[in-house]
């Protein structure tokens, strides 16, 4: 029972990863569709995709930071 907080923190980080994976997956999918429609615009689409992916990852990493806080700042 004394390691419960670590398990829960890891579970929380896992949920954040699920959110990130769904988000970035959707971005990648839309980017593929757009490039398939208009191959000559692939440079711009790629740039926009990378930017959007970095923003979504940022939000997912808030979750990771919260999990790290749960693991590290517990009263021992």
């Amino acid at each position: 029972m004394e390691y419960l907080h670590i398990g829960l923190a890891a579970l929380g980080a896992g949920l954040a990863v699920v959110g990130a994976a769904i988000g970035v997956g959707k971005i990648g999918g839309s980017a593929m569709d757009a490039i398939a429609r208009q191959p000559e615009a692939s440079g711009k689409i790629q740039t926009a995709m990378i930017i959007a992916a970095a923003l979504v990852e940022g939000v997912a990493l808030f979750g990771v930071v919260a999990a790290l806080l749960g693991v590290l700042t517990t009263p021992a």
């Binding site: 990378i50 930017i51 970095a54 923003l55 990852e57 940022g58 990493l61 808030f62 990771v64 930071v65 790290l68 009263p75 021992a76």
Partner: protein
């Protein structure tokens, strides 16, 4: 069909990897050595945290450590300075350094000034310190030294580039050419689209500094023995505060009116909207700060965990899996280093652009 030559390479590589696990059975008798339990958390925190001396490799007295100045400001004694080597690699609060009648110990890289008669720092159950006080710590720690290194590199690169332009009218060659391409990238892809052609020049120094500082620091942090600077929340909070300061100072009348007293909304909603907008104003740099900190720290923790897996499982064969994975993650971190610098700079430019934007009035 795979070409004959690549097939030979693949088969040789796989056979070589398959021989690695046999190394694990040939280990010497483990009970003969001192049984210090390997604690992966401590190893990881030691590598991503700050420290007063720059430790490269080795343990205890036989380690290769670069001592750095410890600069403390105490209320009674003023400034106290000594080199971190006086702690003799002790971070458990046992070795006492005496200066000017005051006694200091290093407990987990926090320096405490011991109260009268105390031999070591004692904590109660909530980890409040009982018999010592913390002086103001202005030391040149590992992160500060690494930041100085980045600053020196940036000064060398950019004074070199500027010097070239003072002498020749032609386009620069070699490394200067790369630097100039990057500077133009920041100007044409980040500053001008976000801030607008009339006002971008004023903010170019800040955007260029932030972009190159974050990128070079991230890259240097990937080298062995390097410091994890942008993974230190204090560094990223300072960068976020710079952006916030620029937004607040350069916000024009339209920006403040839209933030505090948004026109075109029924009056009873305006105070609520003002609270929301002010919160948003503060949360945006906070998001910048957390995004950079978490991305870089997470990357370092993944690499360290993969290598630490070899020591947790106590088998050299795991290296066959860990090292290629860690290599792959390190290559990904190269991309992340650039991407995080780019995102930070682009979002800063976006927020500044929103603050100085001219609106046509209806």
């Amino acid at each position: 069909m795979i070409a004959h030559k690549s097939l030979k390479i693949i088969v040789t590589f796989t056979l070589a990897l398959a021989l690695l696990p046999f190394n694990a059975f040939a280990k010497a008798d483990p009970e003969a050595e001192e049984s210090k339990e390997f604690n992966p958390t401590d190893m990881i925190m030691h590598h991503i945290g700050d420290s007063h001396g720059w430790h490269f490799f080795g343990e205890g007295d036989s380690s290769f450590t670069l001592p750095l100045p410890v600069i403390l400001f105490t209320e009674e004694g003023g400034f106290v300075t000594f080199m971190s080597s006086e702690f003799h690699h002790d971070t458990e609060g046992h070795h006492v350094v005496e200066k000017d009648g005051m006694r200091f110990v290093n407990y987990h890289e926090d320096i405490y000034k011991l109260g009268a008669g105390a031999e070591t720092v004692e904590f109660d159950e909530e980890h409040n310190v009982l018999n010592a006080s913390k002086p103001w710590d202005f030391s040149i720690t590992k992160n500060v030294a690494a930041m100085f290194l980045t600053v020196i590199l940036m000064l060398i690169f950019f004074f070199g580039l500027a010097g070239h332009h003072k002498k020749n009218k032609k386009a620069p060659a070699g490394f200067n050419n790369i630097l100039e391409t990057l500077v133009l990238f920041v100007r044409d892809e980040i500053a001008r689209p976000q801030i607008g052609d009339k006002k971008y020049m004023k903010f170019m120094p800040f955007l260029l500094t932030v972009f190159f500082f974050i990128w070079i620091t991230n890259l240097l942090g990937l080298l062995p023995g390097a410091a994890n600077v942008t993974g230190n929340i204090a560094v990223t909070v300072s960068l976020g505060l710079f952006t916030l300061a620029l937004i607040l100072i350069n916000g024009n009348k339209d920006f403040w009116q839209h933030t505090l007293w948004m026109p075109g909304i029924p009056t009873f909603v305006k105070p609520i909207l003002a609270v929301v907008e002010v919160l948003g104003l503060i949360i945006k740099p906070v998001a910048l700060m957390i995004r950079l900190f978490a991305n870089i720290t997470a990357g370092h923790i993944i690499i360290l965990s993969l290598i630490g897996l070899i020591f947790i499982l106590e088998s050299a064969g795991v290296a066959g899996i860990s090292v290629p994975f860690a290599l792959f993650i390190t290559i990904l971190e190269l991309l992340v280093a650039f991407l995080q610098a780019f995102i930070f700079t682009m979002l800063s430019a976006l927020f500044i652009g929103m603050a100085v934007a001219e609106h046509e009035h209806h």
